[in-house]
Structure formats: C-alpha cells, structure tokens
Amino acid sequence: MEVYLDNAATTRCDNEVAALINEILVNNYGNPSSMHALGVKAERRIKTALEQIARTLKCKPNEILFTSGGTESDNLALLGVAHAYARTGNHVITTAIEHPAVAEAAAQLEKEGFRVTYLPVDKEGIVSLSALEEALCDDTILVSVMQVNNELGSVQPIEEIGRIIKARRSDIFFHVDGIQGYGKVPLSLSRAQVDLYSVSAHKIHGPKGAGFLYVKKGVRLLPLLHGGGQQNDLRSGTENVAGFAGTGLAAEKIFSTMEEDAARMRALRSLFCEGVLQEMEDVIVNGAGTESASPHIVSLTVRGVRAEVLLHALEDKGIYVSAGSACATNHPKVSPVLKAAGLSDEDASSTIRFSLSRETTKEEIVTALDALQDVVPTLRKFQRM
C-alpha cells in the first residue's frame, strides 16, 4: 500500500483538474493575445479562472495575477513592492521562519541596500507581535509573514498582524505567503488588511508550474518579467492558459469542501499525534497543538533516529514523508526554521514531517502509525555513536 503523507511538498493533481488541463492543451490552444477567435476563447478561459479564484478570496478578478507558482508570487511581492516604493522607505520586515522563496528574496533586497528585520518566533513557531511593533518604523514599506509554516504547521495570527501594521501606518504593505494556508486555514483578506497574498496551485491538487499573487487594487509593483505586456504589463509572457485554468478549478474545488476537509484532516491529525505520543517514547510533536495548528502538517521529532534514515525506512514500507531538515554528516545543515523555533541541532536533525490532504484516509494514518512503531525501535538500536 502506498501512503502519501508529503502533501505539504506537493499534492496529487485532481482528476477533473487534470482532465481540464488536457482538454485545454489539446482543444483550447489559442494564444490569449491573438486577435482571432481562438485567442478570444483562450482569453475567456483565463477570465473564468480569475473569477473562480476571486470568489474564494472575495476579491475582484482584476486583483489576481497569475504566475509560475509560489516562488514567483513571493518574489514578485517582495521585490516588486520594494522596488516600486523604494523612494518612500527602505525597510522590510519578515520572519525567521519564512520559506526560502521569501527569505531569499529578502536577502536579495538586503544586497540591494534595503534593511530587513527578521522577527523571531516562539516555541510553537508563532511570530512575536511585540517584536513586530518594535520593528515597525517610519522607513518600513513592507511586512511579509507566512500564513502557515511549511515545516511546523504553525498558523500565524494574520489578522492581528494586519491590525498592528495598519495601526502604525496604513501605507505599509502587508504580504502574506498563503502557499500552505490557502484552502486549508480560513483567512479574510479584507479583515486582515492583506495587500498581497501568494498561492501555489500544486499544493491544492492543481498543476505544478502555476500559481497566483493577489495584489490589492492600488498597490503598485515593478514586474520581474519584461516582454509582451501580458497581464497588465505586470507579468509578460504568453499565459499558461491550461495551468491557470487548472489553478482556477483546483481553487474552486478546494474551497467547496474546505470546512469538511479541514475537520476531517484535523481529526486524523489528532489521531496520529495521540497515537504517536501514547505508543512511543522520546517523541515530540513540534509546534502548536492540533486545535490551533494547521490541520495538514505534523512535525515530529523522533529522538535517537536521524530523519533521513527514518524517512527511507518508512519509504521502504510505502510511506512517503519529508525530512524536517536536510542533513548529512559531511554537510550538517540544520533547518533554520526548526532552529528558530528553538529546536536543538540534534532534535532538528531527528525531525520528520507528515502532511495530509483531503484525500488522506484513516486507514493510511493507522498504517503510518504502525510503521513508525515498527521501524523506530530497530533504528534506535543502531545509532551513531
């Protein structure tokens, strides 16, 4: 039996989405910029996708910008805003637990002369609001905080963060990396006063290579890509019509059953965590408890076993998970996210991530639990000395 519990890495593409993509690639293959009927037909298909997405976010279709996925959305948000508003300030705030798509874009801004503050997080992986208040200053132009952390599953208090930012100054832009949160953890962009929101399609059973950035009306961006002027000059390049249409359908589908899915995943998550904690010794579930964490991510430290080894041992039983940190003896590289959440190097290198999707079944969770209990004692017997 194959048990796929690496849904935070990527998800299986939904059958209907895949069928739609195939249909568009083969039949609706026009270039949306073409003046003839085939072009118009393709353009109309993109419009449909924009509307589908806008409904999930309660925003206007023209506030959605299609991209190649999460990394481009995050890069465009940070670099695009910073470059457009460089004259009004040079300070950017983000957190110590961002995905590299944000962290590396911030590092790029530092190279260009911007000042970047990285907010610390507590043991549960929640960003410090007092540190945010202290960091905000007259020079701040942008704050970027992720909705759900990809390694810990911690859910950030986006609404409170939005309130603090906008109370300080309404012209500080607020970007939220929603790549793990979208379709799993509810968020009202208007209540949280979010200006930019990044989403990747393949995390919600859509295709890889597609995603979008919500850009609130009135927020200016300097584009990353220059060319034919597609998508209001903000992202040149012939639109990935099939990918964008697939993104739209995937978004619509994930939102149509979001509440039930989240509840079911939460129940499975709690079943898994309780099982692990009851049956096994020397294991730690990182991040917040099931009530406040994202329903789909469990970060588990199994002391005395290296993550990579445990991952392969589980793989041998058909269970696919992810190592919380890339680690090898010759190149010890401990996850900065786990470190920021206070894990020791040793615990961080013994941490693996299980991530669920709406397709995950109870049977799969039970299988994973059994497998863990089966392999961990053996692996612990053969430890590095």
């Binding site: 990579e308 080894v309 392969h312 041992a313 041998d316 090898a328 010759n330 053969f382 000395m385």
Partner: protein, 411 residues
C-alpha cells in the same frame, strides 16, 4: 576553417617495441568507438608512428572533446593533409613540391591566424616553421624547407615576424607518406589505451576519492568494473544515483563500467551488534574487500582499486590498511591516491568532472554508524579474533548479499 584531418599523437604507446601494433590497435579501436557517438563521418588511419582521423561534416568541439576522453592520446592537431602524388607511367610517386606546399601553408596561416584576427599588422605574432622530413627522398633538406616557407609567409602577410627561439606559432610541416601542416596541438589525456592492460574492480563510494582512483587506474589502460555498497534505509536511492553518475564519468573515458550494487545493511548491522563499536569501520572494510575480491574473481578482474590515502581517516592509517589488505588473498590492491593530498585529489576530480557530483550531501554506508573514536591502530590479531564473533551468521549474510546484488551497466 574546417580541418579535414586530426593528427593524433601518442607518446607512450610508441615506445612499446614489438607490442606496438597491439597498443595502436587498441587506441584506434577506442577512437573509432568514441567517434561513433559524434556527428560527422570519420575514418581512422595509421601510418608509421602516426594515427590520424579524416573527418567530414563534423562538429569540431564535440569531436575534440570525445577524443580528449581517449586514454593514450597525448595531442590532437587539427591539420591540413596533402596527399602524395600518385605514381604515373614510370614516374615514381612523390610528395608535392615546395610551391604547392607553400600555397597550402599560406592558406593555413590566413585562415587560422589572419582571418580570425589572432595575428594582425598592429599585433603581429612570432612564428617559426619546423619541417620534419621523414621521407628522406625529398629533394630539399628540412632546413631548406623551413627557410623557403618562412620567407613565403613573411612575403605574403604583415601579421607575422620570425622568432626561432620562442615562437608563438610553431608551424609544423611533416613530410611523411603525405604532408601534414599544423600548428595548434590540443592536449589529450595521455595514458594508455583502454583494454591494453586488463581489468580491475574499483570500490566506488560516493566520495571524492574513489572516482579519481578509478580514473587514474583506467588511464593506465585498465578496464574498470566497480562495486558500490548500498545500505538502505540508511543510504538513500539518491546516494545510489549519485554513484551511478560518478560511474558514468569514468565510463566516458573507458567506454562502460559494470557497476555491482551490493546491499550491505544486514552485514553492517550484524557487525554493529556483535563487535566493538570502535572497530566497526575496519571490520566493515574487511568485508567489503572480501566481497569485492569475490566479485573481481568472478568477472576476471586482476586487481582491486581503492581511493585510500595514507592517514586521511582512521581506516586509512598504515595499520588499518594492513588490516584491510590481509583479507585480499589472490590479487593486488591498487591505491593510486596513497600519497596524494586531499587538495591534489580534488584538483583531479574537478578536472575529470566528478567533483560536483561527489560533494552532493548524501550519506554513504561508511559514514552512517561511524564511531566517535574509531581505532586508528588496529591490531590484526585482535581484529581477527573479533571476527570470530560473527561466525554464526556471516556466511549466510554474505551469500545473501551476493545473491541480491544488482548489476548496472553504466555507459
């Protein structure tokens, strides 16, 4: 300009007395094989002391790179070839006269240096003509040919001046059965042609050293097979992929590597359970050598090859090497890196193109259970005694390791 001739020089091969034609045959066979994968049509020809490739409609860079992967080749010279004038009624065949040769020489200098802008009137290059008269019947001496051609070049262009001591361009004119004109000589890898010296079994890990060791032995004309010890779940599928990639680099020089993949997990665990932890690595190495030797015998290899270097790690002290050496009974163990520094090894690995792959951070089975303080001066008698602890199951485990071994034909 598109040269229709690539002149191949090979130093060591030519020294081999009566075996010479055997080595030349091996070299030509290998050249023919690598050229099969290049676009264009090629013919490999041999005259006394010279092998040359006649090439048509070919991609220069691709072809040169392919030839630079052929051990035995010292230099590759893109050349102009002038054929001997055929024998006609009563007149014996002869080489073209200096006027004809001069015409081609001027053409060569124009195409290679003047039109490419390498030599200009503002920045002239120094040159010297160096004629080699192998055909002693040629009516002029080589010095006379040098003088005539040198003068013609000076007359024809203002982009060259003569320097007989340190010329930037050494223009070779070889008067053999045919005439060869060339100046640039591109470096080949040297060594001896693959297959001219038998076959050896390389212990290939994912590290920097063992691929270099394999390359160095292969360069001596030795065909390489390799064995990799896989330890799932402790080592990943990617670690194995990485080893296949490394074997592929060696294969690009040798034509192919038969890679034996042995599952070593159970043996490793058994040693871990039964023996002192600080001797784990050395005991593992002994079993690896035994397995490698058995595979080597079965595939008619004449030696084992490892990437060890004195004192680099605990298992590579002289005492440790003694302990691993003694289990190999029927063949020598070659350790070509034995006296090289790490940096020297890295330099070769960068040159041959294995470095980038070698440093990918996947564990290999030698690193996963390493003791904090492994023995550095193991005593062979003590190690032997501890191997007795393994008597109960080790033979069955070894048998299973052989039975479950996988062979990958890496090309």
């Amino acid at each position: 300009m598109q040269f229709s001739t690539l002149l191949i020089s090979y130093a060591e091969v030519a020294l081999k007395g009566k075996n010479r034609s055997f080595f030349e045959d091996a070299l030509i066979a290998r050249i023919e094989t690598v050229l099969l994968n290049c676009t264009g049509s090629f013919r490999v020809l041999r005259y006394t002391g010279r092998i040359y490739v006649e090439a048509q409609d070919y991609d220069f860079d691709e072809t040169i790179e392919a030839l630079q992967h052929v051990f035995g080749i010292v230099g590759i010279a893109p050349a102009i070839l002038m054929k001997r004038i055929e024998k006609t009624d009563g007149v014996p065949s002869a080489l073209p006269d200096t006027d004809c040769i001069a015409e081609e020489v001027l053409h060569f200098m124009r195409e290679v240096y003047v039109e490419t802008g390498r030599a200009t009137a503002a920045h002239p290059m120094t040159f010297k003509v160096k004629c080699r008269r192998v055909d002693k019947k040629y009516p002029l001496t080589s010095m006379e040919v040098d003088a005539i051609l040198g003068e013609k070049i000076l007359d024809a262009f203002d982009a060259f001046t003569v320097d007989v001591h340190h010329p930037e361009i050494l223009l070779h004119v070889e008067l053999r059965e045919n005439v060869f004109i060339y100046s640039d000589i591109l470096k080949g890898p040297g060594g001896m042609p693959i297959g001219s010296n038998g076959k050896a079994m390389l212990l290939l890990s994912g590290g920097i050293d063992s691929p270099v060791a394999g390359y160095m032995v292969a360069k001596r004309g030795v065909h390489i097979e390799a064995v990799y010890f896989h330890a799932p779940p402790y080592t990943s599928e990617r670690a194995k992929e990485k080893v296949v990639d490394l074997a592929r680099v060696i294969a690009s020089y040798t034509g192919g590597v038969k890679l034996h993949v042995i599952n070593f997990t159970d043996i490793q665990m058994y040693i871990y359970e039964k023996c002192p932890k600080d001797e784990l690595t050395i005991l593992m190495r002994r079993y690896m050598m035994r397995i490698a030797e058995k595979l080597a015998i079965d595939s008619h290899c004449l030696a084992l090859v490892t990437g060890e270097s004195i004192g680099q790690v605990a298992s590579q002290t002289m005492q440790s090497l003694t302990a691993t050496d003694e289990v190999v009974e029927t063949m020598p163990v070659f350790r070509p890196l034995i006296a090289l520094d790490k940096q020297e090894i890295v330099t070769v690995s960068e040159k041959i193109g294995t470095y980038e792959t070698s440093i990918l951070p996947y564990e290999d089975c030698c690193t996963i259970f390493v003791a904090k303080h492994p023995v550095t001066k193991p005593r062979v008698d003590v190690i032997r005694k501890h191997e007795v602890f393994l008597e109960e199951k080790i033979d069955a485990l070894l048998e299973r390791a052989f039975a479950t071994g996988e062979i990958i034909d890496v090309r």
